[in-house]
Structure formats: structure tokens, C-alpha cells
């Protein structure tokens, strides 16, 4: 009887973690939309939502309640099955990406020794969902939006992939939890600031990947730009360019299905920001170094602090994404492809070569 009980607990914990992550992404999407509206209002010198709740805090909650009550309209000429399934495939692809994300020391849903590769694979399924939505809607705007989106995502996966490879070459592992551990005081190997100063016991911001090997700053910027393109966010939002395509691939969606598309978009924003934080910005490690007797890094490392640091850093990156969206105008298709193939891809290649040399000569 005892082992069976253990099995049951084992599965119950997995289910609880899964539900927790789903709840997190739902709450994040709700307040992400609220934050987006407030940030855009601030940038455009407006007020944003103010009426519902204190400072308009309940505005998006009211929105989602309205969305849940709406009728699910399926266009008469749509491919009913593909049309109905697409939003769930898009969301599940993004949601599964959370499975390998470490939140703190010893706090990771699945510690997979292929973590980063798995992430890359599972997120690429989203493009299939988008094509499914575009084709299933049987609407020319949806179709064009889906094709633009896929062309863009596939192109930007190349510089993003090379930026990630240059981190992996420094870290020598694909396990995201190990990559996270290496960037702080819990690391079992020596960590060097800029390749010469031993900071294994100082930790803090000095042992983050972008400072361990400074060319990773370039890799980080490349990754961040590419991640904007993969989320289909401005200035890379040609897939849903309102002035040309109504709303792109999700033009025909209503009610709960539209809600899932939205949920996927905001979860994706958080997910790519969190991956950027894990790979480049010290993951769940504290930014505060140990200074002599003031053991700031030792005091602020732990699983509770881990969740705090990783969330704060990821939310800061999400904030930058919003800032960029409301500041820069949309790229044209040719500018988008020029940036990807003529600027980012060669730079990412250079980062990869430097990573190899760095690993051989300085580590």
C-alpha cells in the first residue's frame, strides 16, 4: 500500500504544479493587459482605465468576465475542427514551455538535461497553431497574418538559436537549472568576472552570464530582439498589423477562443523574458554581491528569494517589451527580413565564435 500512496503523491504534486503554473499565466495575462494599457496610456499622455476598481485595477477582470459570456461564433466557411482547436494548440505550446523553467534553487517543475532544446522545440509548435488558425478561419486577412507570422518566427529563430548556442557553449549544459546555478554563489565550479576575477564566493551581479563573458551582452540583445519577433509584438507586429490586416490570424475569433489566443500571447511574453533572465541575467540569483562581512548574496539566496528575483527580472523585461511596443513604429516586411538576415544573424554567428574562443582560452 505504501508505494502506491507515494505514486499518488508524486502525480498529485505534478498536477498541482501544472495547475499552479496555469493559474499564474492566467493572472499574469490579466494584469499584463492592465499594465500594458496603463503603460501605453502613460507613454501617450493619457490616463488609461480608471473607472473599474481602484485605479482601474479591475478593468481586465471585468473584460475577461465579459469575454467568457460571449458567443463562440464559427464562420460558415471555416474548417470547424481546425478553427476550434487552434487557440488551444497555441496556448498549450506556450504553456508546456513553462515545464523546464527553474524558479529557485531546487525549485523546477522538471529538471531535464535537454531543457533548453526542449523549450526551443515545444515553442516552435506555436507556429503550427497559428497556421491552423489562419487556414481554419478561411479569411484572407487571417491567412495573410498567419503566413507573415510564420515567416517571421522561422526567420528569427535562427539568430535567437545562435544567441542561445553561444550561452550554452559557455555554460556547457542544456539543463536550465544548471545554467541558473552556475551564475551565483551556489555554483560548484569557479565563476570568473570578465574571465579573470574569481567571484565564486562574491556572487551577485558579477557572476551573471553577461558579465562572465561580456560578448553575451550582444547575444542577449540579439535574443531579446528575436524574442520580440517571436511574440509578434511591435515593432515586429506585421502579422496583426491593424491598419492592413484587421487583426491578423485571430480576426475571426470570439469569446473564450479569443481569450486563449490572448492568454498565449501574454504567457509567451513572460516565457521568453524568463528564458532571457535565466540564460543571461543570472536566473534566480540575487543581484547583490557579498562585500566583505556584509554577506548580501548569502542573505538573499534561497527558494523564496529565487521566485522573487526571477519574477522581478522577468517582469522588468516584460516592461521593456511594452515600452518598445508603444515607442517604435512597425517595421516593413523587407526591413524586418534585412534586420534578421543581414544584421542579427552575422552578429549571432560572431558571438558563437567568440564563445568558443572564450571557453578555450579564458575558462
Amino acid at each position: 500500500m505504501q508505494p502506491k500512496q507515494n505514486y499518488l503523491n508524486f502525480y498529485l504534486i505534478y498536477i498541482a504544479v501544472g495547475l499552479g503554473l496555469f493559474g499564474f499565466s492566467a493572472v499574469f495575462a490579466l494584469f499584463g493587459v492592465y499594465a500594458e494599457r496603463k503603460v501605453s496610456a502613460f507613454i501617450q499622455d493619457r490616463l488609461g482605465p480608471t473607472e473599474t476598481g481602484k485605479f482601474g485595477l479591475l478593468q481586465t477582470v471585468a473584460d475577461i468576465v465579459k469575454l467568457l459570456q460571449k458567443e463562440l461564433i464559427t464562420p460558415a466557411a471555416a474548417d470547424k475542427l481546425l478553427f476550434a482547436l487552434a487557440p488551444f494548440i497555441i496556448f498549450i505550446a506556450v504553456y508546456l514551455g513553462f515545464a523546464v523553467m527553474p524558479w529557485g534553487p531546487g525549485l523546477v517543475p522538471v529538471s531535464l538535461n535537454l531543457g533548453l532544446f526542449y523549450f526551443f522545440a515545444i515553442v516552435s509548435i506555436e507556429t503550427l497553431g497559428i497556421l491552423m488558425a489562419g487556414w481554419g478561419s478561411n479569411n484572407k486577412y487571417s491567412m495573410l497574418g498567419a503566413m507573415r507570422s510564420v515567416a517571421q518566427v522561422i526567420s528569427y529563430e535562427i539568430p535567437a538559436g545562435f544567441a542561445l548556442i553561444s550561452v550554452v557553449m559557455i555554460a556547457q549544459t542544456l539543463d536550465l537549472q544548471q545554467i541558473a546555478t552556475q551564475q551565483g554563489i551556489l555554483s560548484t565550479e569557479t565563476t570568473k568576472f570578465l574571465g579573470f576575477l574569481d567571484v565564486s564566493h562574491i556572487g551577485g551581479i558579477l557572476s551573471w552570464n553577461i558579465f562572465r563573458a561580456p560578448h553575451l551582452m550582444v547575444a542577449f540583445v540579439i535574443y531579446f530582439i528575436a524574442s520580440l519577433a517571436e511574440c509578434n509584438r511591435a515593432p515586429f507586429d506585421i502579422p496583426e498589423a491593424e491598419s492592413e490586416l484587421v487583426a491578423g490570424f485571430h480576426t475571426e475569433y470570439t469569446g473564450l477562443r479569443f481569450g486563449f489566443v490572448f492568454l498565449a500571447e501574454y504567457s509567451m511574453m513572460f516565457l521568453v523574458s524568463m528564458l532571457g533572465v535565466i540564460l543571461f541575467l543570472g536566473a534566480w540569483n540575487t543581484p547583490l554581491p557579498n562585500i566583505g562581512v556584509v554577506q548580501l548574496a548569502n542573505w538573499t539566496t534561497g527558494w523564496g528569494w529565487g521566485i522573487l528575483w526571477v519574477s522581478v527580472k522577468a517582469l522588468a523585461l516584460v516592461g521593456v517589451q511594452m515600452w518598445i511596443r508603444w515607442t517604435l513604429p512597425r517595421f516593413r516586411v523587407d526591413q524586418l527580413m534585412d534586420l534578421c538576415w543581414k544584421v542579427l544573424t552575422p552578429l549571432a554567428f560572431a558571438c558563437m565564435v567568440i564563445s568558443g574562443l572564450w571557453r578555450l582560452l579564458l575558462m
Binding site: D79, L81, L82, L112, N113, L114, F117, Y118, F120, A121, I122, S124, I125, T127, L128, L131, M132, W135, M143, M147, V150, I154, E157, L174
Partner: protein, 184 residues
């Protein structure tokens, strides 16, 4: 039967059922999306063979690459051609299908024959490996092993494949290029 075995059989069933749907379905786009289910479940079966790297690669290459390209090719082609393709002879048996049936039956015979003759449970090299404890455990990290092998023992095939891909790329770029004299 424990849960692992159960999931294995479910995956096996999904692979076969979806593959059959891909072949039978009259709607080409749905076939392609069904092919996604086949590939995904197949990746699950690779995990059961402790080849998780192959499983993830399968998803990256086939789902993220090949399937999307197939859909693109589909969406960029002429609607008339596609409609002709989708119009099928509804008779179950016709003379045009004889070669296909012949090839399928022969291939099945070869496969069954190979499986029976291989006698997987009693293969010599598997027994020797098991005796020498030269086996993979589920928790082993196979990525370094694979990298080292690719760069040492299998370097020549690896480079040959990369040259092949390079040739394909150059060919594609050449075909896609506009002829200059047309503009003069």
C-alpha cells in the same frame, strides 16, 4: 499493467490511427495537421527508447520545419490544382491502385520477414552489451556522448551531410535569384 506500459500502448495506438487518417483523409490540409499528431506521438515513443534527444530533434525538425514548409507549399499553390488533387476516385478497388497495393503488400512482407528473422530478444551484440553492463540508464545524460561521437567517430558522415545541405541551399538560392538580363 503499470502506467508507463499503458501510455506506451496509447502512444502506439495514436501513431497508427493518426497515420492511417493521414493516408485516408480526403482533406489535404487536415492530413498535414494529422501528420503532426503522428510525429508528436512518435517522439513520445522515442522517449520510451531512451532517445530523448532524438525525440526533441524530431519535434524541432519535423514539426517546426518540415510540416510548416509543407503547409506553406500547400498554401502558395494554385487552388485549381489542389481541387483536382482532392477529387478522388471513390471506388475502393480500381486498376490504377494495383501498383500501389502491390508495393504496399511487398513492403509489408519484407518488414514482417525482417522482424521475424532479426529475433530481437536473442541478438548477440545486445546480450554482450548487457553482460558488460554497457547499457543506458533513464537518468543518463546522453548529450555529451552524442556530441563527442559526432565530432570523432562519425565526423566524416556528419561533414558529408553538412556539405549536402550546403549544396541544397546554394541550389535554392540560385533558383530563387532573378535573372539580371531580364531587366535590361
Amino acid at each position: 499493467m503499470n502506467i508507463a506500459t499503458l501510455i506506451f500502448y496509447v502512444l502506439g495506438f495514436v501513431v497508427q490511427a493518426s497515420a492511417l487518417t493521414v493516408a485516408v483523409s480526403k482533406n489535404l490540409v487536415r492530413s498535414i495537421f494529422m501528420f503532426f499528431v503522428t510525429l508528436f506521438a512518435l517522439a513520445g515513443l522515442y522517449v520510451y527508447a531512451l532517445a530523448d534527444f532524438v525525440a526533441v530533434t524530431q519535434i524541432v525538425v519535423y514539426v517546426g520545419g518540415v510540416l510548416v514548409l509543407m503547409l506553406f507549399a500547400f498554401m502558395l499553390s494554385n487552388r485549381e490544382v489542389l481541387n483536382n488533387l482532392q477529387e478522388r476516385n471513390s471506388r475502393f478497388f480500381s486498376i490504377q491502385k494495383v501498383p500501389a497495393i502491390l508495393v504496399a503488400v511487398l513492403f509489408l512482407l519484407i518488414l514482417v520477414n525482417a522482424i521475424i528473422k532479426a529475433d530481437v530478444d536473442n541478438m548477440a551484440w545486445i546480450k554482450i552489451s548487457a553482460q558488460n553492463n554497457n547499457v543506458i540508464q533513464p537518468a543518463d545524460n546522453m548529450v555529451p556522448n552524442m556530441g563527442v561521437n559526432l565530432m570523432t567517430r562519425y565526423l566524416l558522415p556528419f561533414e558529408a551531410v553538412s556539405i549536402l545541405l550546403m549544396m541544397a541551399l546554394i541550389g535554392a538560392a540560385h533558383l530563387a535569384r532573378k535573372e539580371e538580363h531580364k531587366f535590361q
